[in-house]
């Protein structure tokens, strides 16, 4: 049972880590956009 739960947990850890990384990139871009508009 330990292996089963480890596999399921690992699957969602990978997906959640990727979603977190995407959210981080999105927030960084959102911060850059007003700066670019100001520079214009």
């Amino acid at each position: 049972m330990t292996y089963l739960y480890a596999a399921y947990a690992a699957t969602w850890l990978i997906h959640i880590a990727y979603l977190g990384w995407m959210a981080m990139r999105y927030r960084r871009l959102q911060r850059e956009i007003p700066q670019l508009r100001k520079d214009r």
Partner: protein, 229 residues
């Protein structure tokens, strides 16, 4: 399309929860391997989803090579990245399943090695896109993708043509899976497909936004260099 996103997100979450329930409780216990066989309901749909994403990446790359369409290039970049994530799940859940069943985490047999090679090809594809500064990067990446996609059928059919430790295919060539297990497998695959679609959708929007920011920054730098501003 933007308004549909939360609705589709909630539906996917419900489907994923139902698929998880079916995989852990609804599906019958396999007689030889016992409970650990339930890893199958995450391992196989993840592999099929990764293959599908790599095939879409191949199609988008061919379209880019023919038409030089930036949207096709963006689709190729997105599907390769999400495909690598699903392929990573396959490479992680496989050894966790192999350890209690085969007694080893890993063996260099044809199916496993080719899957690792597939993962490495697409990781190098993403590295190329990330670190190359050449204006030809999308073109080189598209060519690499066309060659990389050749590994997908090799991985899939390796268990048909080579003697391997990996179990036989569940589709074709006399694959015999209990109908209730088939049912749970298909529910999980449908759930993973919906989830992959949502992730690709979000990633595509992010890619477009990132390209817009990069283009604006490049334009700003060019104007500054020419002393226009």
């Amino acid at each position: 399309m933007k308004r549909l996103f939360p609705i589709f997100g909630v539906l996917t979450l419900i489907l994923l929860s139902f698929a998880l329930y079916e995989a852990l409780i609804g599906a019958p216990t396999e007689q030889t391997m016992g409970e650990v066989q339930r890893i199958f309901y995450y391992h196989v749909p993840s592999a099929w989803t990764a293959f599908l994403l790599f095939l879409i990446n191949f199609g988008a790359s061919v379209v880019y090579l023919i038409r030089r369409n930036p949207k096709a290039d963006a689709v190729a970049a997105v599907t390769a990245e999400v495909g690598v994530i699903f392929c990573s799940v396959v490479l992680v859940t496989g050894p966790i399943w192999a350890r209690p069943v085969w007694g080893i985490w890993w063996t260099w047999d044809m199916r496993l090695t080719l899957t690792l090679v597939l993962w490495l090809i697409y990781v190098s594809y993403l590295m190329l896109r990330r670190f190359s500064t050449s204006s030809q990067t999308p073109l080189i990446a598209a060519v690499l993708s066309v060659f990389g996609a050749l590994d997908v059928p090799l991985v899939y059919f390796s268990i048909w043509y080579f003697r391997t430790q990996h179990p036989s295919p569940v589709i074709g060539r006399g694959g015999s899976l209990d109908p209730r297990m088939w049912h749970v497998l298909l529910i999980n695959w449908a759930a993973f497909l919906c989830f992959a679609f949502l992730v690709c959708w979000s990633r595509y929007r992010l890619e477009r936004l990132q390209r817009e920011v990069e283009e604006t920054q490049a334009l700003e730098a060019l104007l500054e260099q020419r002393g226009v501003r």
